[in-house]
Symmetry: C2
Subunit: 340 residues, 2 copies
């Protein structure tokens, strides 16, 4: 029997490869694999479903991640996908597999974080599964949201001429992770040394306690704006813009000067000898939103806080390019997180 | 900090302990944790959601479980929970974590089983997540179904005087597992010995390729029967009847002579020096349905194939009892699967 290493396909390639033989048979299945969430029709409203699995040693490291933060973040990761459909999360299910080295008290911490996130985002925990694992912890959360059919924003709706917008700032969660990993290595080599997080509360907070952009989706509803396409930035801007371009059949031009980077991220990147724009393009876990709007909607967002215009959708033939501050034009590469 | 071992609470105790601080805030959350599935209201129809996590080394052993069967079964386990609500599954999401010792071809086998089950049960794969794991495989599936609000069958609807009914037969999946485990041990001690499955296709099939009772739920719809309560038998009859009694606030009397056991299971149990009724009561993974009906509905089910009347719902004060073939009355004990 042939043996193809899973590494050869990459995460997205693997999902696509494995799921392409699955047709949608039920009329209510409006959207299957391939967006932030699946969409199920239920009369006037649609049920929007997204699921994520977090694996100890791959997605989180309990050496520096408090369990309460982990619980909170695992909800955020999922509700972020629902917001990225321009819908509102309403319910979640939480399944966990844990080895018996975890105590009930440890799980209580985890669930306290889950509870806080449920409270903050107004979602109900409605089900789940708790089982043992031979080693480590796995958390699988499914978020269920509701959206008006006509307001849902898919990855496929971007058209040439649309403006590319980004919420918040990018790269900080990645830099927070670098800092935590560095301190972990130092601590492993010399357990007497206290971690020196250099007063980098901002980037550490972005890594350990991210928030999903509920506020932005509420604002869209209030001002009557419907993005032509939207995706949440979990794997880095470059990876996400490629998803939008591929699903929409378009190209894109990103202006380096339009990519929002926090001053603290910028300084820390330079300290780590990293290019800040690379952190913003390829670092993950910011959970900001990337969306496109029709040019005539520009005035609706121009004066909104924390929304930045970072480029323009082009014809597919233009490819996906980055225009640097120095005036050069580069092909953008989607690196994102590589889990395999 | 206090350290309570997770074993002390048991699986159901642990879920209850961890989730009791979670209120339901959204009007659409009709039913949260505590039934086969959660129920979300969407106009005339309800969305029914259930999720299960299967962990290598805990729920399945790849030494004797073909990946295609594993994929098929992991869908069955989930759609069975939707049928147990008297609803019909429509969509699933599939998340898997795998170590890099699995090849793409191995995953294709797994997904081929998932695809076959989707086809057979008429469900659409609409999403999921694929990630790596440091060790072993974890499969987390969420099934989403649709049911008429007035026809949903909860665990809480059983009333004294209702008849207790069981579909199919019980204990075979457990005995199939015993047989496979025995052959694995023999093979581990002497790899030259070929497995002797003793022509036990029936019990092996019940373990490796179970089916959910779609046919029974379709029949209920056709004959206009609504069970007063229902649950799928995944952890053994005793455990399930306790769930119904607890949620409904009732007691139960199970007649040993009414518990359906396949002749092949009966013979194999005796060969293994096990009591067949114990296998039926405490062996899991049969994925049959346990349901209760009003006495006046008896004629509707009396002549249906594969539906057996196994006892009667009593007042709570009567407890949960087993009336043996020998005429003795025993307190029933819920053992079920203990995963911790």
């Amino acid at each position: 029997m042939q043996r193809t290493d899973v590494n050869t396909l990459g995460e997205f390639g693997l999902i696509e490869h494995l799921t392409r033989a699955f047709p949608l048979r039920n009329a209510s299945s409006l959207k299957g694999v391939g967006d932030d969430a699946a969409v199920i029709e239920n009369g006037d409203f649609c049920t929007v479903v997204s699921t994520d699995m977090l694996v100890e040693g791959i997605h989180f490291d309990l050496a520096y991640t408090p369990l309460k933060h982990l619980g909170y973040k695992s909800v955020v990761v999922n509700v972020s996908d629902i917001y990225a459909m321009n819908a509102f999360p309403k319910q979640i299910t939480v399944s966990i597999a844990i080895s018996n080295r975890y105590s009930v008290e440890a799980l209580e911490e985890l669930y306290e974080g889950i509870r806080l996130a449920c409270e903050y985002y107004g979602v109900d925990l409605v089900g789940g599964d708790t089982t043992s694992s031979p080693k480590g912890m796995v958390i699988s959360i499914t978020a269920i949201g509701q959206g008006e059919k006509e307001r849902l924003a898919y990855r496929s709706g971007a058209r040439a001429g649309d403006l590319i917008c980004i919420t918040g700032d990018l790269g900080a969660a990645y830099l927070g992770l670098q800092l935590l990993e560095r301190e972990k290595r130092i601590w492993q080599e010399n357990p007497d040394v206290q971690p020196d997080l250099e007063n980098q509360q901002y980037v550490i907070g972005r890594q350990l306690k991210p928030e999903a952009r509920r506020d932005v989706i509420e604002t869209f509803l209030k001002i009557g704006l419907k993005p032509t396409s939207m995706i949440d930035i979990s794997d880095g801007l470059a990876s996400e813009i490629f998803h939008i371009c591929r699903e929409s059949g378009v190209g894109a031009l990103i202006e380096e000067s339009g990519v929002p980077i926090h001053p603290e991220s910028e300084l820390l990147a330079l300290k780590f000898k990293l290019d800040p724009i690379t952190c913003a393009l390829s670092g993950g876990e910011d959970y900001e939103l990337l969306f496109t709007i029709k040019p005539e909607d520009t005035d609706k967002i121009r004066f909104l806080p924390e929304i930045y215009i970072a480029g323009e959708i082009m014809d597919a033939s233009a490819g996906v390019k980055l225009s640097t501050k120095g005036g050069n034009l580069h092909d953008l590469k989607a690196q994102g997180w590589v889990h395999f």
